[in-house]
Each structure stands twice: as C-alpha cells, then as structure tokens.
Symmetry: D3
Subunit: 171 residues, 6 copies
Amino acid sequence: MASRALVIGRFQPPHIGHIELIRVASWENSRVIVAIGSAQDSHTPRNPFTAGERYEMLQAALAEEGIHNVDIIPVTDVNRNAIWVAHLESMLPLFNTVYANNPLVRQLFEEEGYTVRTVQPFKREAVSATAIRSSMGAGLSDWEKLVPPAVARIVGEINGMERMRQINSTD
Amino acid sequence: MASRALVIGRFQPPHIGHIELIRVASWENSRVIVAIGSAQDSHTPRNPFTAGERYEMLQAALAEEGIHNVDIIPVTDVNRNAIWVAHLESMLPLFNTVYANNPLVRQLFEEEGYTVRTVQPFKREAVSATAIRSSMGAGLSDWEKLVPPAVARIVGEINGMERMRQINSTD
Amino acid sequence: MASRALVIGRFQPPHIGHIELIRVASWENSRVIVAIGSAQDSHTPRNPFTAGERYEMLQAALAEEGIHNVDIIPVTDVNRNAIWVAHLESMLPLFNTVYANNPLVRQLFEEEGYTVRTVQPFKREAVSATAIRSSMGAGLSDWEKLVPPAVARIVGEINGMERMRQINSTD
Amino acid sequence: MASRALVIGRFQPPHIGHIELIRVASWENSRVIVAIGSAQDSHTPRNPFTAGERYEMLQAALAEEGIHNVDIIPVTDVNRNAIWVAHLESMLPLFNTVYANNPLVRQLFEEEGYTVRTVQPFKREAVSATAIRSSMGAGLSDWEKLVPPAVARIVGEINGMERMRQINSTD
Amino acid sequence: MASRALVIGRFQPPHIGHIELIRVASWENSRVIVAIGSAQDSHTPRNPFTAGERYEMLQAALAEEGIHNVDIIPVTDVNRNAIWVAHLESMLPLFNTVYANNPLVRQLFEEEGYTVRTVQPFKREAVSATAIRSSMGAGLSDWEKLVPPAVARIVGEINGMERMRQINSTD
Amino acid sequence: MASRALVIGRFQPPHIGHIELIRVASWENSRVIVAIGSAQDSHTPRNPFTAGERYEMLQAALAEEGIHNVDIIPVTDVNRNAIWVAHLESMLPLFNTVYANNPLVRQLFEEEGYTVRTVQPFKREAVSATAIRSSMGAGLSDWEKLVPPAVARIVGEINGMERMRQINSTD
C-alpha cells in the first residue's frame, strides 16, 4: 500500500494551523484521511459546529488551497479510549501513518503499534481553536485572519457568530 | 390547532419561578406541555430528584395553584444538540410555541423555525434552583419559601434534604 | 398512599381493549399511571406511531370516555430486563399495584415483590393491536371499530394509514 | 445552493445497480453525497464489510467509472426513525434532493418536507445485494459480474469470501 | 507470560459440554479466563439468567469439578463486531490463546492475529444449551442430566424453570 | 446464605487502603465480591488503567496478601444513579452486606434497603488514589510504598508511568 496518513481533529472550526498540518501530510503521503472527530457534537461552546458544517468548511478550504489527495470523514466518539483505535480502523479506509500532536492520541496509537509523527507547522503557535471560538463568541473579527477564507465565508452564511454568542450566554 | 405551548425545565426542584412561568403560558395558550428534562438523572448535586419525584412535585403544585390545562411529560436527554428538537417533537404532543429563557434552547428551536417566547416572571430574579439546592444540602430551611407548599411537603416525605446532604458530601 | 395502579402498554395504537383495562384500573384505584412503553420507537411495522402521537390518542380517548384519574407518561426502553422495574420506578410517580397480562411483565414485577393483577376485559379477545395494524397497512377500515373514535380521528389527521402502507412495503 | 443530492445505502457491497443510481444522481445534480448507512455494522451476514472497507470499494468504483462530483460519508445508525432525518442533516453537508427507492426512507424524508426521487436504473432488477452476499458466502463467483471490477478486487484483497463463509456458518 | 487461555460463552446455562471445554483449557494452560458474554441480558428465552446467576453457576460447577485455575469475568456486549476483540482485551486480563468453536468468534480473533483453537469435547454433540432451555421452559426434567449438579441446584433455588415458563409464554 | 460482602471501587490503582478494606471484609464475611467500577474507562487522568489491568493488579495483590475468599468482577457504569443498584444486583453474585465509605454509594444502597458498613482502615488517611496518580504522572516514585508490591510491579510492566505522563500532558 502506498503511504496513507491519518490526521485527526475536531476542527471547531478548521484554522490555518490545521490546513498547514494537512498540507504537510499531503506532501509526504500519497493520500491523507482527515477524520473529523466528535462528529456527534454541536451547539456547545467547545463544539459549536455540526459534522456536516465542518465537512463543508474543510472541503472548501482544501479546494481553495489546491490540496486534492484528501478524504474527509466524520467519526463519532466511542467514549472509551481502549477501543478508540479499533473504532477508527473500522470506520476509515486503511492508513499506515498517524499525524498527531495530541499526547493522548499518540499514546493510544503507539500502544496499538503505530508510528505517530509530530508536525510543528510553521505558524502553529499563533493559532488556537479555543481562542478563535472565544473571539467569535465575543462578536470580534480578529479570528477571521486565523481561518481560511472559505471557513470565514461559511461561518457567515450559517450565522455562526450569533450561534456562538447564544451558546456562550447559556449558564 | 389551538395554541399549545411547550415549557421545558429540569425542575430540580420546581420553584415559584417555574410555577409563574407555567401560569403565564397557561393563560396565553389553550394547553401547556411541561417537559421535565434530563429525566434519566437523579441523586447528583445538580439533579437530586428522579423524574417520578419531579412529576409528583409539579402535579401537586399545579393542582394547588389551580392550573389545570397542563400535561407533564418527562423526557430523557439525547446528548446531541443537533437532534434534540426532533427528539422532543417525537416524544411530545404537538406544540406551536416555546417558552424558554435559556439561550441554547432558544437557539436550537429557532434554527428549526420555531418562535420562542421569553417570559420575565415578576418574582423570577429571586428564585434560583441552584440556590435552593445549596440551601437544602446545607440543612437550612430558607429554601422552603421559594417553592410551592406541595414541593416542600414532598421533599420532606422522601427525605430529600438528607439525600442532598449525602450527595453533596461525595467527593 | 392511596392505591395507585400502573398500566403498561405500547399502545400501537390504543384500542378498546386498552381502554377497558384502564377503566377497570381507574375504578379500582384512586389514580392510574398509564406508561407508554417503547416510547423511542416509531415508523416501524410493529411501532408505527411516535410517543407524542400515542399520548394524544390516549388522552383524547380517555377524555371521550370520561376517565379522568389517569396520568399518561411515555417511557423509553432500557433493553435490559433485569433493571427495567428500577427504571420504571425512577421514571414514574409512586405506584403500588401493577395491571399486566403480559407474562414477562408479570415475572419482572413479581421478582421485585410487586403484586400483579391480571384483568380479562369483557371484549378483550376481540381486540389485537397486531390485527389492527395489519388492517391499517392493507388500507382496510375494519380496524376503526376496534379503536375509540378519537383514535380513528387522529390516525386520519396524521395520515397514519399511508404511513403504515409505506412502512409495510419496506423490505 | 446548486442542486445537491443525497443517495443513501448500506453498500454491502456496492454493486452495479448502486453505481448506476449514483451516476444518474451525479448527472442531475452539481454534487452528490453518498451516505454509507449502518456504518457501525460489520462481520454479520447482512453487513459483512466495515464502513472503511465500503468506503474504499465505493471510492475505487467511482474513480473507475469516472464519476467525480461525489462525497462519500459513512453514517452510524441512530435506531430511532423519528430523529433519523435530523441525524443525517447534522452529519452531512447540505443537500436538497433525496434519491431513494426504499419506502421507509421516502416516508421519513417526506414527513420532513423533502422531495424524494425514485430512480429505476436500467439494469436494476438484475442486481440484489442479498443475492451477491449469498453467492459470496457459498464460495461461488457469479457475483463478480454484478459488482464493479474495483469491488471484486478489494473483496479479494481482504479475503471477503472467506469472511462471508465463516460468518454464514455461525449458528 | 505463561499460557493463558480465553474461553467465551453465554452459559445460558452452563452445561457439561462447557465444563469439558474449560477442563481441557485448564489442562493445557496455566490459567483460564472464562468470559460470560452478553452479560447485560436476562429474562429472555435465549438469555434467561443474569450475569450474576451465571457467575454463581459456573463458580459452583468448577469447584465441584475441582477445576481451580480459572477466572470468571462477565462481559457486556458492544454490538459492533469490528471492535469486539479490542473490547475484550480491555476488559480482561492478558490472554494469548483463544478456545472457540463459534466461527464468528474465530474469524474476529484471527483477523486480530490470534491463534484460535477448536476443541471437540468428548460428549459435546449431546449437549445443546438451546435444547436445555426448551426442556426447562416446558417443565421437563431431562435437562438436569446435561448440566453439572451445582447448576441444577441453583436453577432450583432461583425458580429458574418457572421463570423460563413465564418468559416463553410471552408473545 | 452465608454472609457475602460487596466492596466497590475504581481501583485506579489498587492501594494499601483498598487492601486493608478488603481484608476486613474478608475477615467478617464468608466471601467478598470486589467490584471494579467504571470498568469501561481507561487512559484518562482519573482512570488510567483498563479493567483488565486493574483485575490483574487486584488479583496479584490479594494473592500476595494471602486473602483468598474474594471474587473480583469488573462492572461498567450505567450513568443513572436510580438504577445503579439494580444494575449491580444483576451483574454480581448475591451479596447481603455493602462496605462503602462513599456517601453516594451509601445513599443509593440504603434507599434500596441495604445495610451499609463504613470501615475506617488503620492506615487509610495516608492513602489517596488521586495523590498516587499525581505522583505517577510526575515521574516520582513515592507512590510505590502506597501500593502493594504486585501493583508496583505490574505498573512497571505495562509502562504505566509513561502512560500517565502522556495522558496528563493532554490539554
């Protein structure tokens, strides 16, 4: 099998750090599977967007960037770490490399015998999805430069900032 | 269809602010559905009473107040905001108006095309279920004036204060 | 506590045998709790109607019959027989008698120490919900005399026969 | 929004009837979402292949056929018909047309206000996934002409026929 | 690690064929893990006994037989074949051999790289749990010679035959 | 029935306070059931070890201490306090005494009519599983004297400290 990489994230929302990571994986592998985690969650401060909305955002952003060898697949949680890798293996096409900066993801895949690669994207330190969501919820616009133009456009179309504001004001 | 209102709450326990809200809804509509949310939860600091106990409390309190055009229905959570309105629609009789002060509830129903009404009951600011539970758990009695007499009576019958004390002392 | 009876059924749909059973329970007890079981199911040949639709049907039929001391409460399944009685106890107001003709229901409640009463309603043998659903799905009208008038009316309003026909033609 | 079609199936395995249906949808719409249903199931007589395997099969078959405007997305079941459409809406990108021959799928989408299109593909009558699975499990090869070449190749690579044989011999 | 065997069954109820299989495994390995599958099920025609009851039966029967190097562990189902082996690995102590006659169990463990051993116990063909349950439900006693004495005794103590009779008479 | 005690804990990991408690219960009863709670959880800061690993640790530690009349049984959560006792009753062999220091556990069992015993083990105050896990995650070794030697050995064999370090560094 040619090299196939797995990139996992919640993408709430996809930002330029995510795109950089996917771009690196797409250079280094013949194909990349981007798994949208916690697909079942939406309308919470930590997970404002549905899996479908995040799919649209990622797809549009990757098209914009000319990254083509990527399959995007939403995956629901199983809420049991010990079976999470088996869950992903059953839900996704075959992959042989995992790109992950999250230590738990690294631990779980390494216990199952995978090699896990860490990527320090160039602009990574400047981008935090948490900060982007805070900015959105506060009605600011400084988050827009931290996401691909397609993501900013889609957030606008679905009234994402108003949704964030309502969600954040719930006890 | 004559106007049917939905009022949603956890009612842990029902207090005079809840009764006021239901009374307003019962004036303004031919029938009111009171959905007891998080029906599956009990014996926690945030959700001390079972759905059955909360049903008894609400029913007795509404009888006491002479509010008769109300259907009380416990509803379990689905833990997925994006399908919560569809879940309620399948579990409840038809309704066409929603009374909600909670911003998330408002957001979810508005995304599905409902008109959501906010009610600022007269005495509302004085009543917080959280404060009532704290007072109960501390063995005080000042919460009793914040709930209908029937609720105070039922809490006594089921040893609710002792339950709250035990639950609160759990790490 | 005054005598409180529990009557459990799926009520797909409520028929005159159900109403007779509830009437007997309502004579013999100060209050009756009618639990609508398998509340989460709908749109299947065995469970065509939602919990909300069944609630409407039961409520209208009991009003029509002048039976007033009844609380109707939908209850979702737990799919584990060993904890089903505990589940009902937590979801429902207190009850001390169970009316059940179903042997499994009898077995489960008796193992928990309840006395279970069997009622042989006068017309019972003539009424089978299975037969009613078959007739509905086949586009016949002979089922209408086996259900309270309110049920036949509501089935009409929600296009229940067309729904049954579509469901039944699915592999 | 340009026309976006939803095609739903279990694709156990994808066969030439499925490909024809997707081809029609891809002609008539700017994009097609192919949802792989019952994504959580595998290794049963009715659902032998994992979601990941079915994704590979569909993707390879569509590439082989030169059908490019398709997004493939696995979706787990919710096991509650009344909320299934809301579940799909949250998990998938926006769509405005549904292609479905299954009467239950038609019923559920029509109740939510969608227009559902039925397609009678040219060769459809000759192709049944059930028959293909039976043939596979019996160790025959006549099923191979009923699936795209890519599907036959992948079934071979994953020892699909041996898996079918083992599964079928389980009580 | 010394050799550790896994034996899996539903043990509804444990019979002399099961005991023979466990005896062989206990001879051939330093320790045996007996997993009681479908632990969550009870009070159905196919799964009449609770996990706790089956634990008591197995423990008493193995003591009676002088088989001591066995750990009995109930395990709930996950209802997803693709993650079932990972589920067992997380719930059970380490094991390196699997004894299984069930083809699906064999298939699932072999796909994960395990060696699976088939045992044809001497008296096996004479013993079927299905036949034992039928006999119990019919009020016969010919099943008693097919189970260890301890199992027959416990079935008596918990009124198992009456339970079977009630369950079997439920539509 | 001779006296049978239930001891419940998460045992993350088993420490000398747990062993003391089990020893007291084993003196005072003919048999002890040790239920490993939250069996489904692992690889989190609060629940680092799988049910299988905790089973191994407890079994080895009790053997080391010469405590023999104990059955160890992992039990998954039900996440509903009102049915938790019924869940345990179905999953475990019969028991008539509960040893619990946790107030919620006490409350739930007392509501079901059990007598609950509190044990203040001699060295208890010195031992906190939370502190042990913190020490492990920080790469210290002072936790080793707070657990039975067998537990320290198994933690070493499964690289438990490295796992804790990775888990703790995850956001």
